[in-house]
Amino acid sequence: MTRISRLEKIGNTLKQINVGFLIQFSVSLLVLFMVLYPIGWLWLGSIRTEPFAPDYTLSWYLKIFSDAVLWQRLTNTLKITIGTGILSLIIGLPIAWIVARTDTPFSKKFELIAVVPFMTAPLIGALAWTNLAAPRTGLLNLLYRFVFDSSLKHGPLNIYSMWGIIFCLGLYYSPYVFLFTAGALRSMDPALEEASRISGCNIIRTTFKITLPLVYPAITSGVLLAMVFAAGQFAVPALLGTPAQFSVMTTTIYELMNRWPINRSLAAAIGNLLVLFTFLLLYLRGKLLSKGAFTTVTGKGYRPDIIRLGKWKYVTFSFCLLYAIVVFGLPMFALIYSSLVKYWSVKIGLHRLGFWNYTYLFTEHSLTFVAIKNSLLLAVFGATACIFISSIISFIVHRGKSRWTPLLDYVAMMPIGVPGVVFAVGVLLGWIRPPFVLYGTLGILIVGYISRFNPVGIRAVSSSLVQVHPELEESSRVAGSSWAGTLLRITLPLVKPGMQAGWMTLFIVFLREFGISLFLYSPGNEVVSIMLYEFWENGDMMKASALSIVLMVVTVISIIIMRRLTGADIAGMKS
C-alpha cells in the first residue's frame, strides 16, 4: 500500500514538473543568478582587502569618508545629480505643458525631439558639446566673440566644468520629465481643472493650484529618474570633467580600475555607495508613486482643455524651437562640421573641409568594421536573447501564483538602479575567475548587457501583458490547450507588440552601450562606443565625430529596417 501511494506521489510530482514549469524555473534561476552574482561580488569585494583575498576589512568604506579627495568626489556626484534634476525640471516641465496643453504651433512635432536622447549615446552628446562650447575653440564661443566681443580670448561658455556636465545631463535627461509629465497632463481628468475655473480661478491660478499639484507625482518621478541616471553617468563627466579636474564617483571607479595600483575593492566600495544612493532615489520614487496615486475616475473622455495662448503662442513656440535647436540642431551641426574638418582650429577654414575622417575610418582604421560588426552582433543577439528572458520573467511575475514571484520581480528589476560602470565592476569580478570564466569573450559583454538591461525588456513586455486579461488564457486552458500551447497561440500573439517594442529599445540601447563595454571588452571585441572613447582619449575628436555620425546612420537604418519588418515602435517613442 505505502509503496503504491509513494509511487503515485512521485508520478503526480512528475506530472506537475512539465515543460512549462521547467522553463519558468530555469529562467528564473538564471536571472536571479545573473543579477545577484555580480552584485554579491561587489559587496564581497568591497569588504576584503582585495576582492579575491579572504581578509575582511571595512577600511575601504572608512577611507571614502576620511579621504578628502574621495569625499569631494562624493559630493561632486551629489552636486551634478541635484543640478541635473533641477535643470531637467526647468526644461522638461514647460515643454510638457506646452505640448500637452497649449495650441502652440507644431507642438506635436516637438515631441519627437524627446526621442533624440534615446537614439544617441550620452558620449556623443558630450562630444558634440565640446565642439560647441569648449572655452576657446567651441563654435558657439567663436561665434559670440566674433559678433560681440573679439577682445575676449575665451568663453563666455565653458563646457569643461561642473556646469557644463549639469547642462549636458540636464538636456539629455529632460525628456524623462517631459514624457512623464506630458503623459500625466494628457490622462488627467480635464474636469478637475474645469471645476477650478468654474470655482472662480483663472487659467494661471488653476495651473498652479490644481494642475501642477496634481501632476506633481509624475513630475517628481521623472526628475528622480533623471537624477538616478545622472548619478550613474560616466561618459559625460569623463569627457567634460577631466580637464577641469572635476571627478565624480563613476569616473573615480574607472580610474581605480585602470591605473596602477589597481584598487578594485575601493572601486567596489564606491560603487556600492553609489548604488545605495540611486536606490534611495528609486525608493523615494516608488513611495511617491504608490502613495500619491492621484488617479481619478475619468470622465467621458473630453479632450483636455487646450489653452489658447493668443500672441503668447509665439513665445512658447520659440521656447520649443530653442529646445529643439539646443538638444538636436546644434549638436548635429557640430558633429557634422567636426567630422568634416581635418583638424580643429580657431580659424574656420573651408579648405580644411573634406571626407578625410570618413576615408580614414573606412579605409585605414582596421577596427571600424570589426566594431560595427560587433555592435550589431551584440545588439541583434543580445536583444533577442534578452527579450526572450524578459518575456518569461514578465509572464511569471504577472501570472505566477508562487509567493516567490514578488522577489523575482524585485531582483530582476534591480539592475535598473545600478549604474553601468558599477554593474560592470561586479560582472568583471564575477566572471573573471573560475568557475565562471567568460572574461575576454563577447559572451561577457552579452551577459553584462542582458543582466543589466533585462528590466527594460520586462517593462516593455509587462505593459502589453497587463492589458491581456488572464481570462483569455484561462479560456484557452479550459478549451484543452496546454500551458505551452496557450503561451504560443494566445499569449504570445497578444503581447507581440510589447515584445517588439522591447526588442527595438534593447537593440538601440545595446548598439550604443558604453558603461559596461568599457570595462569588459578585449581586443577583437571592441564595440563602436569603445572606439569612440578611444578616439576621444587619443585626441581624435574629428574622427570621433565622424564615427558618431556613422553610428547614428547605422542606428537609423536599423530602425527603419526593423520597422519595415515588424511595424514595431520603440517603447516610449509612441506619443
Binding site: 577631466t242 580637464p243 591605473r259 570564466v437 575576454g440 581586443p523
Partner: protein, 346 residues
C-alpha cells in the same frame, strides 16, 4: 674596347657598391627561419600597445606583409594595458602576446613573474642598460614642450622647464593625467630630483588642465583650446605637425626619455609569433616603422634619423639609471599621491 669597358665598369661600380651597401644593411636583419615557420604555424599575434594606434597598426601591417602573419592590436594608456593584462592573468585567459608600454609597466609585470624571457637576437644592438632578460626598451619617447603657434609666438614660447612656473601661463597649461600615464609622473620625479619642492608647489599654482591621455592633451593644444602642453611626447607632436596643425615645440634641458618597454607575456597564446614580432620591432626596419616615422628615438646606435626630427645629438638627456627606474617603479603609488597633493586643485 677595354677602356670603354673600364669606363662602363667605373660607372657601374659605385652603383653596385651602393647596392651591396644597402643590401648588407638589410642583411643584418636576418630572422631565424625556424622561428618564422613556427610563428607562421601560430598564424596570429596580439600586440598590447600604449603608443599611438597608427604606429602599432603600421608595425603590424608591415609584419603581415613580411611574414604573412596577421596581428591584432589593443591600444590603451599604459596603466590600462597593465590592468588589462593583470585581469587576463587572473582569468587565466591570456590574449596578450607582445606588450609594449611606457615604463615601467613591463618591468613591473616581470617583477611579478608574468613576463617570459625574450631571448631576442636583435637585442644585441641595444645597450645593456636598456634591456633585461625580460624586456627591451624598444623606443625612447622624448618629452618636449608643445605650444600652439596661434596663441604663443615662437619668441614667447616656453623654452625650459622652469618656464612652467611663469605666472603668465596660469590656466593655460595642459598636463596629461599622471594617474593614467607614467610620462608626467616621470617628469614629476625629475623635477623632484633637479628642483626643490618650491618649484613643484609653484607649478601646482598654474592650475593645470588635465586630459586623460596625451592624445587628448595634444589635441587641446593643436586646436587652440589651450596654449601649452608641458610634457608632450614627441610622437604626438609629430602627429599634429603632420596634420598641419599650428603647433611648435621646444626642447628643454635636460630632456627625459620615457623608454617604451617591450616584452612577451608568460603563457602568451602565440609565443613564437610574439617573439618574431619583437625581433621585427627591434630590427632596423621595425624601428623605422614604429619609431622614426613618428618622431620617436631609438636606443640602437646604428640608426640614421630623418632630417625633420630634432637631432638626437643636440638633446641633453637626463640619465635615468636602471636603479632609478626600479625605485621609481616601487614608489609610483606614493608619487601619484604626492603629485596629487602638489598639482590637484584644492
Amino acid at each position: 674596347m677595354k677602356r670603354k669597358k673600364m669606363k662602363v665598369l667605373s660607372a657601374i661600380l659605385p652603383v653596385l657598391f651602393m647596392l651591396v651597401m644597402i643590401s648588407s644593411a638589410y642583411a643584418q636583419t636576418q630572422f631565424d627561419p625556424k622561428l618564422i615557420s613556427a610563428a607562421k604555424k601560430e598564424g596570429k599575434v596580439t600586440l598590447y600597445n600604449s603608443g599611438d594606434r597608427e604606429a602599432g597598426e603600421a608595425l603590424l601591417k608591415a609584419f603581415k606583409a613580411k611574414f604573412g602573419i596577421s596581428g591584432e592590436q589593443y591600444r590603451a594608456t599604459s596603466n590600462k594595458v597593465l590592468s588589462k593584462v593583470m585581469e587576463e592573468i587572473e582569468a587565466k585567459n591570456i590574449y596578450a602576446d607582445v606588450l609594449c608600454t611606457g615604463s615601467p609597466n613591463v618591468l613591473r609585470l616581470s617583477q611579478k613573474g608574468y613576463i617570459a624571457k625574450h631571448d631576442c637576437q636583435q637585442a644585441k644592438f641595444y645597450p645593456a642598460s636598456q634591456q633585461t632578460e625580460h624586456y627591451v626598451n624598444v623606443t625612447g619617447i622624448a618629452m618636449f614642450i608643445m605650444y600652439n603657434k596661434d596663441l604663443v609666438s615662437e619668441k614667447d614660447a616656453p623654452k625650459e622647464w622652469k618656464d612652467l612656473i611663469n605666472p603668465k601661463w596660469k590656466g593655460q597649461i595642459v598636463m596629461p593625467d599622471w594617474s593614467a600615464s607614467t610620462s608626467p609622473l616621470i617628469l614629476f620625479q625629475m623635477f623632484k630630483d633637479i628642483y626643490d619642492t618650491e618649484f613643484l608647489k609653484k607649478a601646482g599654482e598654474q592650475k593645470f588642465i588635465i586630459h586623460k591621455a596625451h592624445g587628448a592633451a595634444a589635441n587641446a593644444v593643436a586646436s587652440g583650446e589651450n596654449a601649452i602642453a608641458f610634457e608632450m611626447l614627441s610622437d604626438r607632436i609629430a602627429v599634429e605637425v603632420k596634420k598641419g596643425a599650428p603647433v611648435g615645440y621646444s626642447v628643454p634641458t635636460p630632456v627625459v626619455f620615457n623608454p617604451r618597454q617591450m616584452g612577451i607575456t608568460k603563457g602568451a597564446p602565440h609565443p613564437n609569433a610574439a617573439k618574431l614580432l619583437m625581433e621585427f620591432a627591434l630590427s632596423k626596419e621595425g624601428q623605422k616603422i614604429y619609431n622614426l616615422d613618428y618622431w620617436l628615438y631609438s636606443f640602437r646606435s646604428d640608426i640614421q634619423y630623418p632630417p625633420e626630427m630634432y637631432p638626437l645629438d643636440k638633446i641633453k638627456l637626463y640619465d635615468f639609471t636602471p636603479k632609478m627606474w626600479l625605485d621609481f617603479t616601487d614608489n609610483m603609488p606614493k608619487l601619484i599621491e604626492e603629485a596629487n597633493q602638489y598639482w590637484l586643485k584644492k
